[in-house]
Amino acid sequence: MAALDDVQVKEGVDQETVEAVQSVGGKYKYGFETDIEIEYAPKGLNEDIVRLISEKNNEPEWMLEWRLSAYRRWLQMEEPDWAMVDYPEIDFQDQYYYARPKSMAEKPKSLDEVDPKLLETYAKLGIPLKEQALLAGVEAPEGDRRVAVDAVFDSVSVGTTFKDELAKAGVIFCSISEAIQDHPELVKKYLGSVVPQSDNYYATLNSAVFSDGSFVYIPEGTKCPMELSTYFRINAENTGQFERTLIIADKGAYVSYLEGCTAPQRDIAQLHAAVVELVLLEDAEIKYSTVQNWFPGDEEGKGGIYNFVTKRADCRGDRSKVMWTQVETGSAVTWKYPSCILRGDDSQGEFYSIAIANNMQQADTGTKMIHLGKNTKSRIVSKGISAGKAQNTYRGLVSMHPKAQNGRNYTQCDSLLIGDKCGAHTVPYIEVKNNSARVEHEATTSKVDDEQLFYCRQRGMDEEEAVALVVNGFCKDVLQALPMEFAMEAQALVAISLEGSVG
């Protein structure tokens, strides 16, 4: 079987993609809404709301102070406008900053106490929460790979699986609200240490109002016994989602972390501003994979998620290694630059990205590789696909500081255009401040070729299948970097996101 699996995973598109394309029929698959009673905080943003969020989470005083200082800073800041995205002004007072299912008012002690409707929602999304049913859909053929899930619904975490088993290995995996109560020393030490409160407009906003998110601590010398995953779901209307993720890999620790996102289909755009901080000590390694499939808005650009996300990894320790892999297919507007600070000597950062923009979607995404330590290495592989009237921008910074002796970077930036009304833009910034560093940048732009499509169709594939096949081929380098289950999902998503882009 090994050879067979090899074929399925490593080579472009396969049957799953084809089936997914055919079964979905051009619609956003995750657009349903869960009918559940939601408890909102009053609309708008002020100090009282910040206090309320803190109170709802039973936070200690120091956390509230932290939030308030962020909020006060945020009031002084201005929304950035340098990205190549264009959207109506966001009225930050016309949003809810906190929403939670009523049934979650008393935190359930175990998954058995969670509202069945919530579990149903995640089941519908293909996310197995129940430990009993855990492996449906995420099981690898060997049968020994398991994934622990933290599910975040609107503003709260509804449950985390495999907690006990992880605890045996010394791994802490819980919602960040729990971590603030149960592991304050770790949170105090690391929260905001990678993405400071004042980092940027959206990160500062997040620092003030984040409601939940995931927390991971992998102790020294520990390889996390299973993959960890957080699943974000925005359900409530007019509600911003501000989650905060903090992952700490202590010396020699290893973890692979997956993140997935969906939201219902709505006419009104919704705001999502997350912060993810990764801390890596000596010899630690983190793989962070995202499949972002927020509702992208309809063909005319109505609705969809505005996705303003700050993700950063700090390779503090020598020889630490971080790998970001992202598949961005959703959101009306994407503003996201998962970055690596390569502080430790011999540390490595990798960034693999597929960004698909169809219809009226706008994506401005890329990465920053900040080389501070000696012999640091980074690699960027970005695949941007534009279709419909979408605009897709790669924006990246590679910076070699004076002390980053023998720093190395390789960047490959490929754009693929489908149709003649979309745009692809590449904006690389390169700063080199020492002579021993080497930076390479390669970029290509191509169109899906009529000859390729005709060739596929002559062999029996319909036009959408043909496009999916060609595009999956284009993305292959990045798909291969994803964990296996995600690679399958991502292939299917690539096909679905491009439906209606031809003909």
């Binding site: 396969d14 002559q458 062999r459 060609v470």
Partner: protein, 251 residues
């Protein structure tokens, strides 16, 4: 099997007529060859039959087993059993040859309402067929036609044909760019597929391919029409005397 009547075809983008009344009937189980000078419309005929964009049919019909195919999508024609071996096989970077084949085979099976082949069944069949065409495991894994030599590309076309098991195979200048050994290999692959239920239309410039794939009928095409039809000896006549004599004779 294939019946073409009075087919007139022009380019969509410019006012240019390429096929000017082609009449051709390929019987089931027979191998027909079309020869002709450059620019006579041979390749256009293969593209129009397989449904490529950019051509406009102004008159005439083309039927595959009694069904008019000219209004069908390319993939519908493929599922109906029409196969074109391309003169210039197209490269698809990043898509494994095996994945491409499997997607194609299953797309056709699905279109015909047949059950899809499982990965294991597929693998077994593909390995068997690849072996006889001297296509190794490495070539099956590499991206479709990327970095393939001329001979590898043409062998790959024949492998696709063998896997898809079409009823009507059109070979467009399959011999172009091949040395003698490669041509033999390709011809053997084609001959192995000759069958009472399968027809071939072999388009070629030179007679030499027809030494290896022996045709039942040979047509000469010139200026968008079939101008002469005969047996295998007609190909030899072209080889010996060139097209000029024949064209002068029919003029």
């Amino acid at each position: 099997m294939l019946e073409i009547k009075n087919l007139h075809v022009g380019l969509e983008e410019e006012d240019k007529q390429i096929l000017k009344g082609v009449n051709l009937t390929v019987e089931t189980g027979k191998v027909h060859a079309i020869m002709g000078p450059n620019g006579s419309g041979k390749s256009t005929l293969s593209y129009v039959l397989s449904g490529k964009d950019g051509y406009e049919v102004t008159d005439g019909t083309a039927e595959l087993e009694g069904t008019d195919i000219l209004d069908m999508e390319p993939e519908e024609r493929a599922a109906a059993g029409l196969f074109l071996a391309f003169q210039y096989p197209v490269e698809i970077p990043g898509v494994g040859n095996m994945t491409f084949l499997r997607t194609a085979v299953n797309a056709q099976r699905k279109a015909r309402g047949e059950e899809e082949l499982s990965a294991a069944e597929f693998l077994k069949v593909v390995r068997e067929k690849a072996k006889s065409l001297k296509i190794d495991a490495d070539m099956l894994k590499r991206p479709v036609n990327v970095g393939f030599s001329g001979g590898e590309k043409k062998r790959n076309e024949i492998l696709q044909m063998a896997m898809l098991e079409p009823k009507m195979c059109i070979l467009d200048e399959t011999d172009s760019g091949l040395d003698v050994d490669a041509m033999k290999l390709v011809a053997e692959g084609v001959n192995a597929l000759r069958d009472a239920g399968r027809s071939f239309l072999v388009i070629t410039h030179y007679q030499r391919l027809l030494d290896h794939i022996k045709p039942d009928v040979v047509h000469i095409m010139a200026d968008g029409k079939i101008v002469k039809t005969g047996g295998p000896e007609l190909a030899l006549e072209v080889e010996n005397n060139g097209y000029a004599d024949i064209l002068a004779e029919v003029a």
